[in-house]
């Protein structure tokens, strides 16, 4: 995996644009379901970018009736364009979304 965040961001964008199938549903409605997804992510190789995107349920656009997006997610660092959830720890665009979204 590339180490430069800009390069990784481009790689992720390309994968999503190419139609990578990710586990968008089910959305973790409870903390137990949320924790179960985190457990799956922890079992991945930290460099397994595709695995993170699939299990995280990434999409490259706002999602749902409320048009949720990374921009409002608590884990999103605006200036670094970075997802600070330790299990993900990847660069992201503000208009993206994943099912680990929390506000």
């Amino acid at each position: 995996m590339a180490s430069d965040p800009e390069d990784i961001l481009k790689t992720i964008a390309a994968m999503l644009e190419a139609g990578l199938e990710t586990e968008v549903e089910p959305f973790p409605e409870t903390d137990k379901e949320f924790a179960d997804i985190l457990i799956k992510l922890r079992q991945l190789d930290p460099n397994d970018l595709k695995g993170k995107l699939v299990i995280g349920g990434f999409v490259d656009h706002p999602y749902g009736p409320e048009q949720q997006r990374c921009m409002e997610c608590m884990y999103y660092l605006v200036h670094r364009k970075w997802c600070d959830l330790p299990e993900l720890a990847v660069p992201v665009e503000p208009e993206w979304w994943c099912r680990l979204w929390r506000i």
């Binding site: 409605e29 903390d31 137990k32 884990y75 605006v78 200036h79 929390r102 506000i103």
Partner: protein, 320 residues
Amino acid sequence: MANLLWLQGGACSGNTMSFLNAEEPSACDLVTDFGINVLWHPSLGLELGENLRRMLDAIVSGEIAMDIFVFEGTVVNAPNGTGEWNRFCGRPMKDWVADLAKVATFTVAVGDCATWGGIPATAPNPSESEGLQFLKREHGGFLGKDYTSKAGLPVINIPGCPAHPDWITQIVVAVATGRGGDLTLDEFQRPKTFFTSFTQTGCTRNMHFAYKVSATEFGQRKGCLFYDLGCRGPMTHSPCNRILWNRVSSKTRAGMPCLGCTEPEFPFFDLEPGTVFKTQTVMGAPKDMPTGVDKAGYIKLTAAAKAASPAWAEEDLFVV
């Protein structure tokens, strides 16, 4: 001179440890500067066995005046309402509490267990524990909701797990120096002087709360602990960030979430797995909003705050 008696029911002695760490004023100051005579205390009392029994009997009979009755720990009623699981000086502690509360000028509950039952009263509550005048949020407790001490006040509740040392000694001094009547209590009988503001008041991470930057691991020097790590600072009434612990810090300043230990529901969610140190959410939004904030307003505020957040909010800061 004000006579003080301190007894422990279903307790871990945490509030005694806290009391002995008091600085403003210290436990020694109570005696030397404020004329408090400690009749007996589990860690300080000299009398043992029959001598202690005689003293307690003398207090109950009125032979020895008791100005301040401090109780730490739950009132244990098990098994089957007898209180036999917590015997003291020849009889169930709950019987002593019932008799002593009748003759106390002021009755003070120290710590969560004595105030609302705390951890021992968590479901399924095998010790049938309750606080002096509350069981969790339910008014009543062991002494009943109509109880008042001889001074005409209900039980003065100083919650916390443990209560901060100086909350204890400052209330004791207020009572001992004749200012007990000036105390104003909130709906849970907590002194308003300590329990009107929130744990968040004075938190050094408030800028991260404002800009919606989250801490994601304990001890991080950036980020608010409310969003992910279960901090209850915005919903908990306590002065933990105004009257600092050991005069230097607080849990949130050290990067650990507030557990809400001054509120009647503590420990929250009955300690179900996954509920401690984790913000409980419904569809990605916090189940418990900061006091006075609704969900729609919270979402709007988040969008605006994120958009306005400065770069420094994402960097490590010295917030201890």
